[in-house]
């Protein structure tokens, strides 16, 4: 490859001529030089992320086998897998928290996938004002989750909120929303849907632009209706993007903390009604200083997330994410 290159004079030569590959240097090909460089370029980021994650994970795994309580550096004993058996036997906090995590994630992500897909199909063909619609789409997902939580507390306030005002004005009964034990989790699912459906839509729109036109045109020529073209042509081609989007959203939804904590406070409310595993682990750590038990819950939670990701990737056949 260098034969052709060497005949061309270096651009802006006077400063760079000394750096022309000499006989000795040319023993090292450019590709080899690049390969040496890549580790130098990669290592700062890799070392940083590694240092921030590897020691803590080992620390947490070790902590989960101890009776650490009260202060992080207080004396502690290794007590074997007691914390794990305690957590798994706990039907008052642990299992309900896992259940809520699953309900919240499945509810939110499924709704976001269906609505996001519908919205992506609606916005697919260009139209006047697309720019502004896209701006409105990204505002919810860039907005500070704590601020979003507070905003919805105002809108959904059972006595003074605009939501109940609108409901009663069309003859529907007012709702308790975040003020009741039963409605809190479904309400938070809907707030999450408001905030993150646009993300699903944007990911799917990006996927739609990469699809070839021909299959759909061919289906149109063959007399397929709009639904058939979507169901049998567009959707199958879009599946890899959909799978990736599902993994991305599921991972974030499983770990939702800000919205839940901002709207319902520590413990997920008086009756733990929105306490997911993340909120539970946070409370164990910072409200109860039950470091050992908290670490065990976090190890179980992390394994659960990894399990979900592996499952979704295998089912969806997604190559990435």
């Amino acid at each position: 490859m260098s034969a052709a290159g060497l005949t061309s004079a270096p651009a802006g030569g006077e400063r760079r001529t000394p750096r022309r590959p000499t006989g000795r240097r040319s023993a090292v090909t450019f590709e080899q030089a690049n390969r040496r460089l890549r580790w130098a370029m990669l290592s700062p980021a890799l070392l940083f992320v590694g240092a921030m994650i590897v020691f803590p994970l080992v620390f947490t795994a070790d902590l989960s086998l101890t009776n650490a309580f009260g202060a992080v550096n207080a004396a502690k004993d290794h007590i074997g897998p007691t914390n794990f058996t305690d957590a798994l036997a706990d039907t008052r906090r642990f299992w309900p928290a896992l259940g809520r995590t699953v309900v919240f994630t499945v509810g939110a992500v499924l709704l976001e996938a269906v609505l996001g897909l519908a919205l992506a199909m609606l916005l697919r063909r260009p139209f006047r004002g697309m720019r502004w619609v896209r701006t409105v789409l990204i505002i919810p997902l860039l907005a500070t989750p704590v601020a979003v939580g507070i905003l919805w507390l105002l809108i959904l306030d059972p006595t003074n909120g605009i939501a109940n005002h609108l409901l009663t004005s069309v003859g529907l009964p007012p709702q308790e929303f975040l003020g009741s034990v039963g409605q809190s989790l479904p309400t938070l699912v809907l707030i999450d849907v408001w905030q993150w459906t646009p993300m699903m839509t944007l990911l799917l729109l990006a996927g739609l632009t990469t699809l070839p036109e021909e299959p759909e045109e061919a289906a149109l020529v063959d007399g397929a209706g709009a639904w058939q073209r979507f169901r049998y042509v567009t959707l199958p081609m879009l599946l890899p993007t959909l799978a990736t989007a599902l993994v991305l959203r599921a991972v974030d939804a499983l770990k939702t903390f800000d919205l839940l904590y901002a709207t319902k406070g520590p413990g997920g409310g008086s009756d733990f009604e929105v306490e997911t595993l993340n909120v539970y682990a946070y409370g164990l750590t910072f409200d109860y200083q039950e470091y050992g038990l908290a670490a065990a819950v976090l190890v179980l939670f992390t394994l659960f997330i990894i399990g979900v990701v592996v499952l979704l990737r295998r089912r969806g056949g997604g190559r990435n994410a």
Binding site: S2, V146, Q228
Partner: protein, 286 residues
């Protein structure tokens, strides 16, 4: 779709009418979605300009005489201004430092397809941050750093570095190798080719990724909740304390949320095209 009766070809006028009806239906649906997504934000802005009596009276709606009293009170109390300063400082420093280490790393991964090495980045996205908080707290407490800006910057970088890498890897992977090879044939070192040829091409992508990293740092709640003290508190934590201690002052609360949402809103309006590209990169290709 019954194939037995071939439909009578519709007249041009009928087809035209049908297309117009579809366009109207589509426009209506789009308008409805925009209203559903946008109205809550509009409601927040409106509430910030209402008196506390008006905020809790839903019949006031969007027609009222605006007052700046909420903003005056919130700004006078001072905490929100200090917190915005802290958030700005932590956001800018963590984003710049992250870009400095993440962009070269993304180049290495994208250019040489080092996907196994990059899987550490995925681990960073998957692991619940709470499982890192206690060990971090332990380490930072030993170093006497809890409550300092350093801890906030480092913890926010833990989110920004993977985010910037995630966005930039697919960018570098899509760049033709020949560009750098030609530069090296012309006498640039491997690093020189990256710095003078590849990096300028990556400037728009880097700007997008950095803007997103800044927004996510600005929004980050949990790290500052644990690691900040009163003097280094960031905006979401201040907002959270507003709910706990002044839940009746809706006007002030909405003025505060408006103030912290404005920068994000500005970014959304000005950088819409780039932000969308950044948010969706990596989802459609490896």
């Amino acid at each position: 779709m019954t194939a037995t009766t071939s439909p009578v070809p519709p007249t041009a006028a009928a087809r035209d009418r049908r297309r117009k009806a579809l366009a109207v239906a589509r426009g209506t649906a789009i308008a409805l979605v925009v209203l559903l997504l946008g109205l809550p934000i509009v409601w927040m802005f409106a509430a910030a300009f209402k008196t506390n009596v008006q905020v809790t009276d839903p019949s006031v709606g969007l027609w009222f005489t605006p007052t700046l009293e909420n903003f005056r009170a919130v700004l006078e109390a001072g905490q929100i201004v200090r917190s915005m300063g802290n958030s700005l400082l932590v956001g800018v420093v963590s984003t710049v430092l992250s870009a400095v280490i993440a962009v070269p790393a993304a180049w290495a991964v994208g250019r040489f397809a080092m996907h196994r090495t990059a899987s550490l980045i995925l681990v960073a996205r998957i692991v619940p941050a709470i499982s890192l908080l206690v060990p971090w707290y332990y380490l930072f407490a030993q170093a006497g750093l809890v409550g300092s800006y350093t801890v906030l910057v480092l913890s926010h970088m833990f989110v920004s570095v993977p985010l910037i890498m995630w966005i930039m890897i697919s960018f570098f992977a899509g760049l033709p190798v020949e560009l750098e090879e030609a530069a090296q044939v012309d006498g640039l070192s491997a690093f020189g080719a990256f710095r003078r040829i590849t990096l300028p091409l990556a400037a728009p992508g880097t700007a997008t990724a950095s803007l997103l990293a800044f927004v996510f740092s600005w929004n980050n709640f949990m790290f500052a909740l644990v690691f900040a003290d009163d003097s280094t508190q960031t905006v979401p934590v201040t907002l959270f304390h507003f709910i706990s201690y002044a839940s009746t002052d809706w006007g002030g609360l909405m003025a505060a949320t408006t103030l912290i949402t404005l920068p994000v809103l500005l970014a959304a309006v000005l950088g819409q095209k780039y932000l969308v590209a950044g948010l969706t990169s990596g989802a459609t290709k490896g």
